[in-house]
């Protein structure tokens, strides 16, 4: 087990290094960064001054390690646009995004898993078909449209919930539902398929032959096996939610990190983009690592391979 975790950790570190190098190289993607910083109409002398001030005249590898050394200490330089430390800019936005992501995933999991189990217990029944319809709709309707409908109903008509902002937990209710409903269908269908598969196994028959109750058969013997692939899927979706909830953040004016990333790309604010890409990638890497470790805890066969 410890071996397994160490191996995965090593792999995660390697991937992180690669990703960090790629996001560092971004700054050279749009041409000479010194020209970009110096601004339009700057003289050659100005550009050269900027170049040596920012250290762009050093070899690339030296620049990368200098940048990385700063980055691991949480220092990503100043935003070109705001001229503020990127770290301060990002930290605030990130807390909103993380909150939203966790709530959305929590909502998706607590609806999708029970629905998937119930659907699998009675395949092709009314319950199963309703759950299927629910998930097809979830996959088909665009988030922005669903978000707007919710705003019209619950904020404008009923006035139960605020339409935008981040002042209280109430602001997070609708975004959570929209984001969660987006992630729910895939989790539900994987749970259902996994349960159907597992419930046909011989060991389920053994569990019944021992005298287990139906509830015990479903959860202790069934779901415990069927949940293993769901963990991996949820981890990937979690990474995606933390980096890609731009649509939901903009509909509800949540000012999260996804929205910031989108703005920064439009503003050519490379240090901010760099930092965000690195952070979003780290989320993916960390969640994949967590999923691998969880899977190893859940499935003894994975530990020994």
């Amino acid at each position: 087990m410890i071996n397994f975790v160490l191996r995965r950790l090593g792999l995660a570190l390697l991937v992180s290094l690669t990703v960090s190098f790629l996001s560092f190289m971004l700054i050279f993607l749009s041409g000479d960064p010194a020209v970009a910083i110096a601004g339009e109409g700057a003289s050659m002398a100005d550009i050269e001054a900027v170049r040596s001030q920012y250290g762009f005249d050093r070899p690339i590898l030296v620049q990368y390690f200098a940048w990385l050394g700063q980055a691991v200490q949480g220092n990503f330089g100043n935003s070109y646009y705001f001229n503020l430390p990127v770290t301060d800019l990002v930290a605030d936005r990130l807390s909103v995004t993380v909150k939203l992501g966790l709530c959305g995933m929590g909502f998706a999991l607590i609806t999708a898993i029970p629905l998937g189990v119930i659907a699998a217990m009675r395949p092709n029944s009314i319950v199963d078909r309703t759950a299927l319809l629910f998930s097809v709709v979830g996959q088909a309707i665009p988030s922005f449209w669903f978000g707007l409908i919710l705003i019209v109903v619950f904020a404008v008509q009923l006035r139960w919930l605020p339409a935008s902002g981040t002042d209280s937990w109430k602001n997070f209710v609708m975004p959570t539902i929209v984001l969660g409903y987006y992630a729910m269908p895939a989790i539900m269908r994987l749970t259902r398929a996994g349960m159907l598969d597992v419930l046909n196994s011989d060991f389920i028959r053994t569990a019944r032959a021992k005298g287990s109750s139906e509830l015990r058969v479903m959860f202790k013997h069934g779901l415990r096996n069927a949940i293993i692939p769901v963990v991996s899927l949820a981890a990937v979706q979690m990474g995606f939610m933390l980096g890609g909830s731009i649509v939901v953040e903009s509909i509800f004016a949540l000012n999260g990190a996804g929205y910031l990333a989108w703005e920064s790309i439009a503003r050519n604010d490379l240090p901010t983009v760099q930092a965000l890409i690195l952070i979003f990638s780290m989320f993916y890497i960390v969640f994949t690592l967590i999923a691998d470790v969880l899977n190893a805890c859940l499935d003894p066969r994975m530990r020994s391979s």
């Binding site: 060991f203 053994t206 005298g211 287990s212 415990r224 096996n225 003894p300």
Partner: protein, 331 residues
Amino acid sequence: MTSPLLSVRNLKVDIPSGSGTLHPVRGIDFDLHRGEVLCVVGESGSGKSLTSLSLMGLLGRTLERSADRMEFDGINLLGASGRQMRKLRGARMAMIFQEPMTSLNPVYTIGDQLIEALLLHRRMPRAQARARAVELLEKVGITAAASRLGQYPHQLSGGLRQRVMIAMALMCEPQMIIADEPTTALDVTIQAQILRLLYDLVREMDMAMILITHDLGVVARVADKVAVMYAGELVETGTVAEVFDQPLHPYTRGLLDCIPQPGKTGRGEPLGTIPGIVPSLVGQVDGCVFRTRCTQAGPACLGPIPRRSRDGHLFRCVHTDGYAPAETKAI
């Protein structure tokens, strides 16, 4: 004579399907007495597994079971609720399956699964259940039993897994054990070992056993009684001596001809085969189920086939003269 532990009359299993209802078990009758070993033989698809699953109440939702009587130790299994059946399963009747590789839950340790079998039915401290698990693992011939408790199924060979399954079935000392081809999936070299072990334990604990097997050699050695199953019917039942020495049904004779007999079968002499295939299970069969493959088939085989007997030896065939119509349905 004491009342039987298990008494089954006219047990049927139906499977509704799009192209007509299947009848894989077509009204079978038998009794199993306490401490008795009944061997069920018959080719694949004759309904042996479905019969055992219906005794345990483990048929899937899509399969329909019906019977005139199904009594286990005075309990009417036909009217038993799900809860009553759960209390019987594992505690008083246990089953060992054909597939040791897949019959254990891959995510729990052997110990957890053995202990669960006991704790589902008995209130006791976990440590005590654990001790019982070790005791039984030793009984089924597993060395270093205590250290095996922490192992997972994938760390054990098929033979070991089947030993664990046997130990699990015995955890609560059931009165009846159903073993459905328990060694078919194992290496030939360990088949005999495992069967020997199972048989010795059943005798030692004074349990009754229904053993389903293809191996007529095994039947001759372990069975008290034999039931020959064909296309969902028991075509012949009796003691080992009766059925093996004086098979009265052509199908039984065919089965016995398929195995070489030391001293009787000469070297190079061909073994018997039964030509043809098992009839379709869709719809009812009029007359004898075996007539399409029987060398003696004639017009009489199309009519009703009475059950006939000599003492306890029962069979269903019109051709063997000199036997009285059976007074009882099962021995």
